[in-house]
């Protein structure tokens, strides 16, 4: 067993920032990760990072944009903390040597991004421990954390089959925390990125539209204006608006090859494209075989970002003392129902740092955001078509409730359980998890996508239940302990199941149209009823849905819900 003050799970932007912060506080930090740090998804971010850096811009404007973008489902304390700290953290990155684009005076360049009122996107581009599996040797180790464990495992895109996320983004952190007892928040809020390449899901960054790229349908119309989806912002409207516009075009028969629309940047001129968007050219060429200088690029919406995640407060702490979450895995509720482009990276920095500091024991202001079931206000009232949650009795995962028991024993116990589970998976005979995974991904993309219709969402729940049953029979065909990816993927598939189910349950519960969440039967935003978070607690295998009020009282102002128009 290894013993450290703080354990950080996940070495993406959030995890690294948390580790640095904890280290600054003098804590001894261990970083557990599935991928080498440089391979994490944070490195994939193409568009940029937001912060109020210039005169004429200020943190409260940034905060206002963020809340507006969130469609009033963000919690104000989180947003304020975020917008105030973002400049500091972005400059921190610059001081750490980030190669930002530059202006003539040597300062970093900023450019307009979807949903922003000022160009401020800088681009570059009681938990005691945990159990870890050594991918290379197949050994299982216990990690004991004296102060805290920070989960920073990134996104959950693999719950869908068309996603911009990496194969490693299987929602592990969410699922682990969830099963350990920390509720998931606003899981139905999934952002679909409007411009991904149809064949691979590779992302074409917001930057193309930021620089002036134009979307056309099969009839050559600039549909964002011509069909009135966003008469002011046009292509720069927020992601949900553009994604829906594209799918509407396709559904109404104006899609190209009935699948996608065109994103054209040729009019920007070769010089500008080469200077600012060169990487986009390479992406289109390598992954779609299209030369962006010569022809428009095909694009369609794809899963991109999870606004929801493990419920936590401004200090990153969940309702389980000592368990923290940061980054895309977490839901401080900064993004609410929709995240603005360029807001994820500063989030990693700001809340990653705060989680790290807090876990390491730094004195910090007590959190204003409440967590755990006690912070809830009313019970949920969905009636799922099938029983969600675990098939059999709870399987003694990372024991979170072991406060009274000696921590080391809790972890040893967990290690033992995990060893047994791995042993069974390796030795038993059964079906390949890949089929189960594919079933879930398919039903999610078909039924819980940009457009959500009650019947479809219900059938997705049935499919997930079915998949859960099948998962009972999975086994790992590869008997080796060395670098057994079969085993890892099989374990991940269980996480995908939990996360997919949570998304779908949330989608069923929220009977309104807010931000990224669109319900066929409920075409308006219902502020009276729905300015509240959907919460899902695992409850030992019987998921329980409840709601938590949204806090819109900011430091400077109370954010009044207004109509979101771009």
């Amino acid at each position: 067993m290894y013993e450290h003050d703080v354990i950080v799970v996940g070495a993406g932007g959030a995890g690294l920032r948390a580790a640095i912060a904890a280290d600054e506080e003098g804590a001894d930090v261990a970083l557990v990760t599935k991928l080498h740090p440089v391979r994490s998804h944070t490195g994939a971010a193409e568009g940029g990072i937001n912060a109020a850096l210039r005169e004429g811009d200020s943190w409260d404007l940034h905060a206002y944009d963020t809340v507006k973008g969130s469609d009033y489902l963000a919690d104000a304390p989180a947003v304020d903390t975020f917008a105030k700290s973002a400049p500091e953290e972005v400059i921190q990155l610059e001081h750490w040597g980030m190669p930002f684009s530059r202006e003539d005076d040597g300062r970093v360049s900023q450019r307009p991004f979807g949903g922003m009122s000022f160009p401020r996107t800088t681009y570059a581009g009681a938990c005691h421990g945990c159990v870890a599996y050594d991918i290379k040797s197949g050994e299982i180790h216990g990690f004991r954390a004296n102060n805290g464990v920070v989960l920073a495992t990134g996104g959950l895109g693999q719950a869908f089959d068309h996603t911009t996320n990496a194969i490693a983004n299987t929602g592990d952190g969410c699922a682990m925390a969830y099963r350990a007892g920390a509720p998931m928040e606003d899981m139905e809020m999934i952002q679909f990125h409007p411009t991904t390449l149809p064949s691979t899901g590779v992302l074409i960054s917001e930057g193309v539209r930021g620089e002036g790229g134009i979307l056309y349908n099969d009839e050559g119309e600039r549909f964002m204006y011509e069909h009135g989806y966003a008469n002011n912002a046009g292509e720069l409207a927020s992601r949900d608006v553009v994604s829906r516009a594209e799918l509407t075009e396709v559904n109404e028969g104006r899609g190209i090859e009935d699948e996608y629309v065109d994103l054209d940047m040729r009019h920007l001129g070769e010089d500008r494209i080469l200077d600012r968007l060169e990487n986009i050219l390479h992406l289109a060429e390598d992954f779609e075989g299209v030369d962006g200088l010569d022809e428009p690029m095909p694009v369609k919406p794809g899963q991109h970002y999870a606004m929801g995640g493990v419920e936590c407060d401004e200090n990153g702490e969940t309702c389980i003392s000592g368990l923290y979450a940061a980054g895309e895995t977490a839901c401080v509720s900064l993004h609410g129902a929709n995240r603005l482009g360029g807001n994820a990276l500063p989030e990693l920095m700001v809340f990653g740092a705060r989680a790290g500091w807090h876990a390491a024991g730094k004195e910090m202001k007590a959190a204003e955001i409440g967590t755990g079931p006690s912070a809830g206000s009313e019970d949920g009232d969905v009636e799922p078509p099938v029983e969600p949650g675990a098939i059999d009795s709870p399987d003694g995962d990372v024991a979170a409730d072991g406060a009274a028991i000696e921590p080391t024993a809790v972890i040893e116990n967990a290690v033992e359980n995990e060893r047994e589970r791995v042993e069974t998976l390796l030795e038993d005979d059964g079906i390949n998890h890949a089929n189960v995974r594919a079933d879930v991904q398919q039903t999610m993309t078909e039924n819980v996508n940009v457009f959500r219709e009650e019947g479809a969402v219900r059938s997705a729940l049935r499919d997930i239940r079915q998949a859960r049953k099948e998962y009972e029979n999975v086994a790992v065909a590869d008997p080796s302990r060395t670098y057994n990816t079969d085993l890892i993927h099989t374990i991940e598939t269980r996480n995908i199941l939990d996360v997919a189910e949570a998304i779908t349950l949330g989608a069923l519960a929220r009977e309104e149209f807010r931000g990224a969440h669109w319900r066929a039967e409920h075409q308006e935003r219902k502020d009276d009823e729905w300015i509240k978070h959907t919460m899902l607690a695992w409850n030992d295998g019987t998921p329980e849905l409840y709601y938590k009020p949204v806090n819109l009282d900011g430091d400077e102002e109370t954010y009044e819900p207004k109509e979101r128009s771009y």
Partner: protein, 294 residues
Amino acid sequence: MSTRIEQRETETDEQSEEQAAESLGDRRRAEKRERKAEQEAQREAEEATLDDEETVLLKVFRYDPEVEGKQEPRFDDFRVPFHKGMTVLDALIYARDTYDSSLTFRHSCRQAVCGSDALFVNGSQMLGCKTQLADLESPVRIEPLPHQEVVKDLVVDMEHFYDQMHAVEPYFDADELPDDGLEEQRQTRENREKVKMSTRCIWCGACMSSCNIAAGDNEYLGPAAINKAYRFAMDEREGERRKQERLRIIEQEHGVWRCQTQFSCTEVCPKDIPLTEHIQELKREAVKNNLKFW
């Protein structure tokens, strides 16, 4: 199939308590192997039905130090259906998910940013996700990166590569920072352009694997690490003192001087970083720098 499972269960029940858990495991493993052989046969039958026209034949390197029959490296054939736009990685994923889930390779992003799937395909280093099958000659031979030890199947040990990367101190470390914590450091556009390409490295190791010198001299820093050093040494924000230290690192005997300008690193780099050019520029920089002290 169902009878088999039942049979096994009764057997398990009959096992006496004293029987060592180990032998039980061994038994199950042996049975598992048998069933695998059966599946194998089934798989071959399945493959045979695939039409030759729309398929691609993969010859994939297999090795596993622990699994009988894989301890001696061999090549396995997989026939996968081809569709337009299919990449080498897509084909591998198909082969793994359909035929043999023990086929092991690294991958994550599918978009040439994570650098985990550098492979040796038809005799050249490339990223699986960034290589269109249509551009390759059939059969497609897929091997792990040369000059690195194979952990299993297509997975190589990257430790040495990481060591070399870390040896050049790949982190930004300015001589001095602006006094005001909210003030950014100034950098000219030209300077940012100069280092821009070098910052694109995704640590895939393709370059290092292609370099004959790195193959012979294990201590050679290698093109990727030197490029990393270039990225920082040329960044004007770091200052003169730090630059001197950086030059000193790359000037060691196993640094830039070992490069014999074979260009293969530049040719295989999936991010099109002009590696040889950067190495050569550092050599000249180092010589100029030393001449000052003569």
